[in-house]
């Protein structure tokens, strides 16, 4: 397994390289530059040239690219064009933990609600519980974050006034660089964004768990397990559940992509200082290094996530072995 993981990581290197190249090229291709305007007015030609020289933007593109790549290898994401007191590393250090915390909390919520709900629906197949769960799940899949967020803010933030409606409750410095201090402030602020992002995830997971378990429950080996007099709980836990989770793991890849997309919107709605909000906020000002770096980080997260999915695959299904 270690060999497999190492090989996959090695294969990812050219992918990451191609991704850096593609995003770099794409962002450079955007018409307009970061120094076109000061506020509302156009920046004087002389100043613009000086600024571009200062950040090396006057060099040939390939030279800029390799410079950026070299800095990346040394762990330097590059300078921030609109600020001299901070660089991209600072921004990433502040925003990456927020996005990761939001994403992980939502995934946890998705599994904690989705799997039991799916199992319950499958075990009580065609009962009222099943129908309710199925319907709620379709509803959960269908309501976009864009709508659920404002709705939750309205109900639980404005009318009931239970939770704060904006900002993330944890600020740097983070424990180990990305973990929040578990204060009351953190949890209360986390509730609404997590539910916004987690609802869709739990609905997808519930649907898949239900379908997977229903499939498995019809298998011969389940009948065998029952026939030999195993307790029902044991049949479900040991024989059925593990196999029924395989389709759930399959969807984990797309699900991770959904977390990336969803966290971007959730950050915008709740004004969280995460990577997505930084990304959208710096698109118009052509913050070259920040944009390239954030896209790169999202991409690497996806690659690592998909690798994790494949490893979990093998763990759940002993027939799958990567050698």
């Amino acid at each position: 397994m270690t060999k497999y993981i190492l090989r996959r990581l090695l294969v990812s290197v050219p992918v990451v390289f191609a991704m850096i190249l593609a995003t770099f090229a794409m962002i450079q291709a955007l018409p307009g530059g970061p120094f076109d305007n000061v506020g509302e007015r156009a920046m004087p030609e002389q100043v613009r040239i000086l600024m571009e020289r200062r950040y090396g933007l006057d060099k040939p593109l390939y030279e800029q690219f390799f410079l950026y790549l070299g800095n990346l290898l040394q762990g330097d994401f590059g300078p921030l064009l609109r600020s001299t007191s901070q660089d991209v590393n600072d921004i990433v250090g502040q925003t990456f933990p927020v996005s990761i915390q939001l994403g992980i909390l939502s995934l946890i919520l998705g599994f904690v609600i989705g799997i039991p709900a799916g199992v319950l629906a499958a075990l009580k197949h065609n009962s009222l519980v099943d129908h309710t769960a199925t319907f709620v799940a379709v509803l959960g899949v269908s309501i976009p974050n864009l709508v659920l967020g404002p709705l939750l803010i309205l109900i639980f933030g404005v009318y009931l006034d239970w939770f704060p409606i904006a900002f993330w409750g944890a600020n740097p410095p983070f424990i180990l660089g990305f973990l929040p201090r578990p204060t009351v402030e953190f949890w209360t602020h986390a509730v609404l964004p997590t539910v916004t992002l987690g609802t869709g995830l739990s609905a997808v997971i519930a649907r898949l768990t239900r379908a997977g378990l229903l499939d498995v429950l019809n298998e011969d080996y389940i009948r065998t397990a029952r026939a030999k007099g195993l307790k029902e709980a044991l049949v479900i836990n040991r024989h059925a559940l593990r196999n029924s989770l395989i389709p759930v793991v399959t969807i984990l890849g797309p699900l991770l992509a959904a977390v990336v997309t969803g966290s971007l919107i959730t950050e915008l709605i709740f004004a969280l200082n995460g990577m997505g909000r930084q990304f959208v906020g710096s698109v118009q000002s052509r913050e070259y290094f920040l944009l390239t770096s954030l896209t790169l980080i999202y991409g690497v997260l996806l690659i690592l996530g998909n690798l994790l999915v494949d490893v979990m695959y093998a763990w759940l299904d002993p027939r799958i072995r990567y050698d």
Partner: protein, 365 residues
């Protein structure tokens, strides 16, 4: 001559298999005597029995009609501003002034009394929110349809060629798909849209060229064209994977071998024998992906990268109303509910189609 007839005959055989295609093993299903009925008819019967899926499909047809005939089902235009009547609550009566009545699409019809109401209120510029929501269906529906078409065309051709081609080509083509799969979709789509908007803002040159006609077309469509390209450009990856898998499972089948034996060309085999067989599962999978296109468009509009104002899109309407959520929640809720209900309808229909066309799902819902 003989070969020609042989090919036609084979096409017939493939067609038969097509109807059997994804829907095979149907006869094995419980208690369905499929005597004299094609598998498609069986699936259709199954679909119609699923009441909620039928409701979803009917609703979508209705929305399509509403989108086409938007001027007739809305009291006012989506762009006319009555700034002195901004942010009206739902069901507020208009104070009708003589100069406004001619604006109403329903003037002189039995519906005229409705002209005196803000059915769902008005936005910050005093534009009729109901009319804007109805017009918003045009953007959502056209994005859904076009993005789905683009995705299925590129995806199926790419996947089919990849699955049918030699190992080396297949490997190469799938590497590209793997690469695109690792790309964070939304950030890239955002960058594409920023690029498109920047070049269309720069204006259209005078000399005729392909770029200029594209820009012209985009302007005519209110920015929809570039939105189609941005959303459709990368969303075919899943489709390509699915198509490739299907082709791999079909290309060793006897009817393909037979076609090859009588000398059919690769193109002919792909388009006449393989494509018809794999199109069913692709269409069903695509119908399940439709909500995600609508959702992507809404997100882009929410960020301000959607169609050109004043053309209404639900995403931009949510964005407009979002700042005043506390005092005027209806500005967000009305387009938000529209967005949710349409997504719900698409999901109901997609689930119904999948259940009906996949015999394994029979009796499961």
């Amino acid at each position: 001559m003989a070969t020609e007839r042989g090919l036609d005959l084979l096409d017939e055989v493939s067609k038969g298999d097509n109807e059997g295609g994804a829907l095979k093993d149907l006869t094995a299903g419980p208690a369905v005597s499929s005597k004299g009925r094609s598998p498609f008819q069986d699936a259709w019967r199954e679909f119609r029995r699923n009441r909620i899926a039928v409701i979803g499909m009917t609703f979508i047809m209705l929305v399509t009609l509403v989108a086409i005939f938007a001027p007739f089902v809305t009291p006012y235009s989506f762009a006319t501003q009555y700034t002195s009547y901004s942010r009206q609550k739902p069901l507020t009566p208009y104070i009708i002034t003589p100069e406004r009545l001619p604006d109403c699409h329903w003037g002189g019809t039995p519906l005229q009394p409705l002209c005196t109401f803000y059915i769902t209120g008005s936005d910050s510029l005093g534009r009729d929110l109901f009319s804007r929501t109805i017009y918003g269906t045009r953007v959502s529906m056209s994005v859904a349809i076009v993005a789905a078409t683009v995705s299925i065309v590129i995806g199926s051709v790419y996947g089919t060629v990849s699955g049918y081609a030699s190992n080396r080509v297949d490997n190469l083509m799938m590497r590209l798909v793997d690469f695109l799969y690792a790309i964070p979709l939304l950030p890239i789509i955002i960058l594409m849209q920023v690029y498109f908007q920047a070049i269309s803002r720069r204006g259209i040159g005078s000399e005729p060229s392909l770029m200029n006609s594209v820009l012209e077309l985009n302007k005519l469509s209110g920015g929809l064209l570039f939105l189609f390209i941005a959303i459709g450009a990368l969303n075919w990856i899943g489709m390509a994977r699915l198509a490739r898998g299907q082709v791999l499972s079909y290309k060793e089948k006897e009817f393909v071998e037979a076609a090859r034996a009588v000398g059919a060309s690769d193109t002919r085999i792909i388009f006449k024998h393989l494509m018809p067989n794999i199109v069913g599962p692709l269409l069903i999978s695509e119908s399940l992906a439709l909500p995600s296109y609508i959702f992507l468009e809404a997100v882009l509009s929410f960020i301000g990268l959607g169609v050109n104002p004043p053309i209404p899109s639900w995403g931009s309407m949510i964005n407009d109303g979002y700042q005043g959520l506390r005092s005027n929640p209806h500005l967000v809720l009305v387009p938000g509910i529209a967005l949710t209900v349409l997504t719900l309808a698409f999901n109901f229909m997609g689930d119904g189609l999948r259940d009906a066309f996949d015999p394994r799902m029979r009796g499961r819902h």
